[in-house]
């Protein structure tokens, strides 16, 4: 069965969607990703959708759901590399994916994840160090 690979990179998980998503693939990804987050205790998830050309309302909702689930499992999620046509389609469908963080490319997305992790660490340990 077709699966979307989830790569581990230090404290982060990397998901690159290289094929067109269909509904079952999205459901599998949701399962796999939540399992991997709890297994690895990852602090951040980066989803690269720069190869994704077609979205519908279901895939849009899946992206939102995956982000919310990761947050429940204590991992930040960034969606990177959304194409203009995909962004326009989602907006026209009335899905603004509020709560999902976005970045232009993988670089910017990793920056965002590192910054938010640093901020979390500061908030946790910062007061104790002083």
């Amino acid at each position: 069965m077709e699966r979307i690979p989830i790569l581990r990179m230090g404290e982060y998980l990397l998901v690159t969607i290289q094929v067109d998503m269909h509904d079952r693939l999205a459901m599998t990804l949701q399962d796999d990703l939540t399992n991997r987050i709890s297994e690895t205790g990852a602090k951040g998830v980066l989803i690269d959708i720069s190869s994704l050309e077609i979205v519908d309302s279901f895939i849009g909702r899946m992206l939102g759901n995956i982000a919310s689930m990761s947050r429940v499992l204590d991992a930040d999620t960034v969606v990177v590399g959304m194409r203009p046509a995909v962004a326009i389609t989602l907006v026209e469908l009335g899905m603004s994916l509020t709560g999902v963080r976005t970045a232009l490319n993988v670089d910017a997305g990793m920056d965002l994840l590192r910054n938010s992790l640093d901020a979390r660490k500061d908030a946790l340990y910062g007061s104790r160090i002083q």
């Binding site: 959304m82 962004a87 907006v91």
Partner: protein, 293 residues
């Protein structure tokens, strides 16, 4: 005593052919008044158009006087060409239609000469000719309007292209100065060109400047919010600048929620914020030197 219609038509064509030169000369004289527009059209060109029209009319009128008939197809094409070129040269619709209507007097006088002895036939002929020329005249107006509309549509497209430039202000900062009313079609173009530019220039901040947008109603605000959301989905921040006091009042009175969007009064404020977000800071040159001392 009544002659058959076929005969009538044949005689009409033969009248035109017989009196061709006289009709032509009379017609040109008829048009020499206000509708001539010698500033826009050369005498020789007009003459060529007239004789072409007359020849085609003579040929077509041999078959009947219904302007929609297939026999009138060449004549309609000639008229469409004439109307098209006149619309582009700047003739008014009236002047264009008068090209056809001014042939009535010379043509009718030729008919009168031919049927002077038989008033009922003359009346019949004149009536069918009037009907024919009227519908041809209306056809020129139609063709004129069509070519005008073509011009307007092309200009609209040009304006759509021209009015949505995306400019790069700094590394990673784009600006989109909007001028004119925002409708759905334009918003689509604006959104697409902005998003394409964001990808191409790898920009994190985009400033949408609405100084040139005359009014912001709920529809325009909706379009702006869509653009901002789409840019956010791609990972770019949007700042809306150039909000005039009246527009700020309208937005609040209409109950439009712009709370999720950063708005600034001027483009320079927005640029300052954008530089800050992109991680740049400004220092005035003379201050830096005093620091060094």
């Amino acid at each position: 005593m009544a002659i058959s219609t076929l005969n009538q038509n044949a005689t009409l064509a033969s009248i035109i052919e017989q009196h061709r030169e006289a009709i032509l000369a009379e017609w040109l004289r008829e048009m020499s008044g206000a509708t001539r527009r010698s500033d826009l059209l050369k005498e020789s060109e007009l003459q060529a158009q007239c004789s072409q029209f007359l020849d085609s009319l003579a040929r077509a009128s041999g078959t009947g006087t219904n302007a929609q008939a297939a026999a009138y197809e060449p004549l309609r094409e000639i008229l469409a060409d004439i109307s098209h070129s006149r619309a582009q040269k700047g003739f008014s619709p009236r002047e264009t239609a008068m090209f056809v209507f001014s042939i009535k007097r010379p043509l009718f006088s030729a008919i009168r000469d031919a049927y002077g002895k038989d008033p009922s036939v003359m009346a019949e002929q004149m009536w069918s000719m009037t009907e024919l020329l009227d519908s041809l005249g209306l056809f020129t107006t139609d063709a004129y309007l069509k070519s005008r509309e073509e011009v307007i549509r092309r200009q609209q497209e040009d304006m759509l292209e021209l009015s949505t430039p995306v400019v790069k202000l700094w590394e990673g900062i784009l600006a989109l100065p909007l001028i004119g009313t925002l409708d759905s079609a334009r918003t689509q173009v604006v959104m697409e060109s902005l998003l394409e530019a964001i990808v191409q220039t790898n920009s994190r901040v985009a400033i949408i400047d609405i100084t040139g947008v005359p009014t912001v109603d709920t529809v325009v605000a909706q379009h702006l919010l869509k653009t901002v959301t789409a840019a956010r989905l791609m990972g770019a921040d949007c700042i809306i600048s150039g909000v005039r006091p009246q527009i700020a009042q309208t937005i609040v009175h209409l109950g439009i929620n712009l709370l999720d969007v950063t708005t600034k009064a001027t483009l320079s404020d927005a640029f300052g914020l954008a530089m800050q977000r992109a991680g740049f800071s400004f220092v005035r040159a003379d201050k830096r030197e005093t620091k060094r001392d």
